[in-house]
Symmetry: C2
Subunit: 423 residues, 2 copies
């Protein structure tokens, strides 16, 4: 139990399935980096009795318990009351730094300061306060003494944007009290385009010969492909890291350019970084993907160095008028065709004067499919300084899933064309 | 404990924070609809001992336990082994229906059928199988007899797309065994544009006078605004529903058009349904939002009836060349200005020949801000058959957060303009 941790999220909205808990995952990552292994994640309701009972039992069994949620200004938020009970606090006191921030936030947002806002700065007298610079509810650290052995209870707001700014400060405060003795090391290898079972067969020999103590996990995802995670939890630190890194290198010899990146690399971040390093620009013409390729690329900081712009040509009129697709092409082959995709790619490349361009045309569903051109059919074209390349893809999902897979498949095709054209 | 349930997700990838668990939320929704209250959600590692111990303890305390994950074809997936132990299964048997589907899936995907694939159809002989039509791993129901009192253990794949297609069939099988006696009723009211604390003050009197047994929760979210959830868990069925519905109606008298919808309504689905009902078309010109407004609209089925298309005009060249923004306007006022937004909206409306248009120009960050035009500044323009309207907005987040808020604020401004122009 020395270095184990637990994440507990509080809120009826989680238990009735109204919101998806993204905090636990974010916090687990941070705990891992400090060498704490997360043994479980628990979500419970806004109920005083069950909050107190659950946290008391978790703190009994873990070195660090991180709790999020229930710190808001409204009447359904009761975590602070529970924290007072758990930490044996005698009274609530105003934290002056947080109070000043609350006043400032109200001023910027042009909201009158209410009692609800002001009382957000009230904290149990047992709390070591973590200031919330992005919102009004402060966070807390409580040191719980169990017969001379200390555990730490961290309580943070449930709003991810606020919590994400506070967790590092909370954990680094604890790090000054406790030196972690163990370590955890992960390496994630990101692949795209090979189904999980095919991948498993392809790397089966490599998997069987992994060094002792190195564990492999498969993480399939329609948007990011199959990620492979190598982990080690024990042994000599330097030696274990070396084993994991060497295993990753031997894997890249097998999978080659089916690996698009590592760790948090995404298809869009990789495409942008390659184009940016070559000083090349890109424009995008989308039909069925409706802006999703463009928005994935634009979400990356500094994408404006590469991305000139894009067109969502949802109607055929726009395809002919703005992208200069020949109307005969649409009459002869249809809007969802290799030929139309090619002309869209050429049209936007010329019109936007970019070095590269990508175009998509397909059928996302739920209607519009035919026997010859079923729902899920996509044509992708990439225009480069040396020519135009096309790729056909079929997805078998609902509308949203198809659009997601279309945009990932398109970005991956673009990535492969760019890599090869520089060889 | 009669009607309580628990959701348990299995997978190291969850505990190390590599993936976000979306299954629990989806399943909780389904359990609620059947009248089962979800008391907790738990995530645990791919470890045989802890899977068996955790599920045994959960099944002891709940009527239904839904488990996802760990059913894949690869070596780290051990849930099936745990299920055999928990349900006292003597052997694994092939399920012929799932085996046929696996063969078919391999054929369609042009993959050779491997032992790994084939063995996905092996199930404990105690399992009532839920066929997986979207993947290779079948699901299971186990009936656990506890001295004459029955509980149900459901095990489904962790891939959301597969699980989502199977959960209804699993729960309806259980419904034929057990009639639920209690009920849960929720109503969700979706607001946009009012901060949580201002909203709380505005509806404070209404909140204080809510009928007994009707509970209110605030669910703030940067993309969808503050949702208000009214819930009732007890009392006479018809009477409780009436109380909740009447409370929602009196709330709509207070908040008026700050309410954009109910339940799963989104800003984009509402904008589309209003425009569609009026037979009006829309085009979109985006700068800093980079296609995210267009892709949110296009993600809605049948959006092609309304959406003609969009342009992401990331560079000034495209703004002048394709959207006909006067280059003097950019020189005089800058690309991020009321004037530029107006000309972009008019430009795309004329160019794409739509009834309505919306245009955005702003600074998403992390660079590009100045003292006068800080990061987070957005100008929105909406062109209608009757004129052009503009709105200024300031967001205080990082790049991704700013783009999300920009697109929501834009859709909400568009919604208000459309509603008013039809008054």
């Amino acid at each position: 139990m020395l270095n184990t941790a637990c994440v507990c999220t509080i809120g009826d909205e989680i238990l009735i399935g109204q919101i998806i808990d993204t905090n636990s995952s974010f916090i687990a990552n941070k705990l891992n980096l400090l060498g704490y292994k997360v043994e479980s994640m628990v979500s419970i309701a806004d109920n005083l009795e069950s909050i107190v009972a659950t946290i008391n039992s978790l703190i009994e069994n873990h070195k660090i318990v991180v709790v999020t949620g229930g710190l808001g200004p409204t009447k359904d938020d009761i975590t602070k009351q529970a924290l007072s009970i758990i930490s044996n606090s005698k009274s609530l006191v105003y934290n002056q730094s947080q109070l000043s921030l609350i006043k400032e936030i109200c001023k910027v947002r042009e909201i009158e300061l209410s009692d609800l806002n002001r009382d957000q700065a009230l904290v149990p007298d047992t709390s070591e306060v973590i200031i919330n610079y992005r919102g009004t509810a402060p966070g807390h650290i409580f040191t719980i003494d169990k017969n001379g052995y200390k555990s730490y209870l961290i309580s943070l707001p449930g709003v991810p944007y606020e919590m994400e700014d506070m967790i590092d400060r909370a954990l680094s405060t604890i790090s000054t009290y406790e030196k972690s003795t163990s370590f955890i090391y992960h390496k994630v290898i990101n692949t795209f385009g090979i189904p999980e079972s095919v991948l498993a067969n392809k790397i089966s020999d490599w998997e069987d010969s992994l060094p002792k103590g190195v564990h492999l996990a498969y993480l399939p995802n329609p948007i990011s492909g199959v990620k492979l995670r190598l982990s080690t939890y024990s042994g000599d630190f330097a030696d274990s890291i070396k084993k994991v890194d060497e295993s990753a290198i031997s894997l890249s010899d097998i999978l080659k350019d089916d690996i698009y990146g590592y760790e948090d690399d995404t298809l869009e971040s990789i495409v942008l970084s390659i184009l940016s390093s070559m000083n090349m620009s890109l424009s995008i013409a989308e039909s069925c993907t409706g802006g999703s390729i463009t928005s994935r690329l634009v979400s990356i900081p500094n994408s404006s160095k590469v991305i000139i712009g894009g067109i969502t040509a949802y109607s055929n009129d726009i395809k002919t008028k703005i992208l200069n697709v020949n109307s005969n092409t649409i009459d002869l082959f249809g809007a969802v065709s290799k030929e139309c995709a090619e002309e869209m790619a050429i049209g936007i490349k010329n019109n936007f004067n970019s070095d590269y361009s990508i175009a998509t045309t397909g059928i996302a569903g739920p209607s519009g499919g035919t026997e010859k051109k079923p729902i899920g059919l996509l044509w992708i074209a990439v225009a480069t300084p040396n020519g135009v390349y096309t790729h056909k893809f079929v997805s078998k999902g609902d509308r949203i899933r198809n659009i997601q897979r279309f945009s990932s498949e398109s970005l991956n095709f673009l990535r492969k064309i760019i890599i090869n054209s520089f060889h």
